[in-house]
Symmetry: C2
């Protein structure tokens, strides 16, 4: 039973699967080759190097983005696109980091950016307003915003006693009162849970709508740069 031959498709699929279940760090040329039952250098017959492998993985995620129907107006259409991108990125926990680390603009990346830009243009936005709003959206067009208060992996030290925890919170409150304030606001008032309870989805949509509303106002006023 000769195993079916490797293809670029099979390599990329296996890489995505491996990253899905073991994290992005598990995707090394050696590790990936092992799950494919093959020697590391075999991969290089299908993928130029590791960067291209990562590019291909990102392209696979982009391939999962959905295209909104034509009945939506431009704000709703952009919203639908970005929220679809977000769902895909959230399905693959590693995608965020991978996208952030990529610098190459593959055809899939360009195609997606073109679709988003086209949605603005079809809504009647000028070329330069479209340009600026694309920049303003930044990584949000990939469905994520930078996580300011990203919860540290945790559980690396023995849990502190109640007494120690009280002291830590007090010290924190003295030095970073405003951070504590806004962090606990999101948890319903428990300062020891700060950061955990933050609703990322809400934050994403809040910022997205803030930007879209602002752009819409500029558009209605016939804003021009320079």
């Amino acid at each position: 039973m000769a195993r079916e031959p490797l293809t670029r498709e099979r390599v990329l699929r296996a890489a995505v699967a491996l990253a899905d279940e073991s994290g992005l760090d598990a995707v090394s040329m050696r590790g990936l080759s092992q799950v494919l039952g093959v020697v590391p250098m075999a991969l290089y017959k299908h993928v130029a190097n590791k960067d291209e492998l990562l590019d291909g993985m990102v392209d696979a995620v982009i391939g999962e983005f959905e295209t909104p129907g034509p009945e939506l107006d431009w704000t709703a259409a952009v919203r639908a696109r970005l929220l679809s991108a977000r769902r895909a990125v959230l399905r693959h926990g590693w995608a965020r980091r991978a996208i952030e680390s990529r610098t190459r603009r593959t055809p899939a990346v360009l195609g997606y950016m073109d679709a988003v830009a086209g949605t603005f243009r079809r809504g009647g936005l000028s070329v330069d307003l479209t340009h600026h709003v694309m920049h303003a959206l930044g990584n949000r067009i990939w469905g994520f915003s930078p996580e300011l208060f990203d919860a540290p992996p945790g559980a690396d030290a023995p849990p502190p006693t109640a007494e120690e925890q009280r002291a830590m919170v007090a010290e924190f409150a003295r030095r970073f009162p405003h951070v504590l304030e806004i962090a606990t606001a999101a948890t319903g008032g428990d300062p020891t849970a700060a950061g955990q309870g933050c609703d990322e989805q809400f934050e994403f949509e809040f910022a997205l709508d803030l930007l879209l509303d602002g752009v819409q106002r500029l558009h209605e006023r016939g804003w021009r740069s320079g």
Copy 2:
């Protein structure tokens, strides 16, 4: 002439200098130890591991941020803070990547975030609006926005002939018309210079002001979440 002893300060300073002139990738424990005239393992007496080294480098950049005077209103104060952060980050080309890769919140990081949040609070914004706007600003707090159209390093292939270039542009125009459109708009119409001519500073301030204006309007209306 016994050289003066290493200190954490000296290590960090050397790391920053090395990154400034040779890039972040040149900052390996081996490379750094070499410029300090010392054996790699010596560094571990002053820095727990490489992650902590990077954290220290980022903290050094944060130490260059300036505090705005108390005479400014909250939008101007935030603006001044973020633009100062931007100047510091731009002085150190590696800082962007370093900040993006960091996940640990050092006291310096928390202190800066606290200062920004405090500026909003002193301006009268509610705790939860402050929370959301911090998220919405995202990495812009550190003075940079993600570069959608980051120019590839380039110059790795022989420059294409005029004929090839024309063909490439034509192909690009066919597949990604809107991307080409908004990319050339920023260059005054030269499609072959697409992406290079984009004024990052303008984009940063455009997005920043869009967000600040939006937040200000929400604030004036007494916006509350939920």
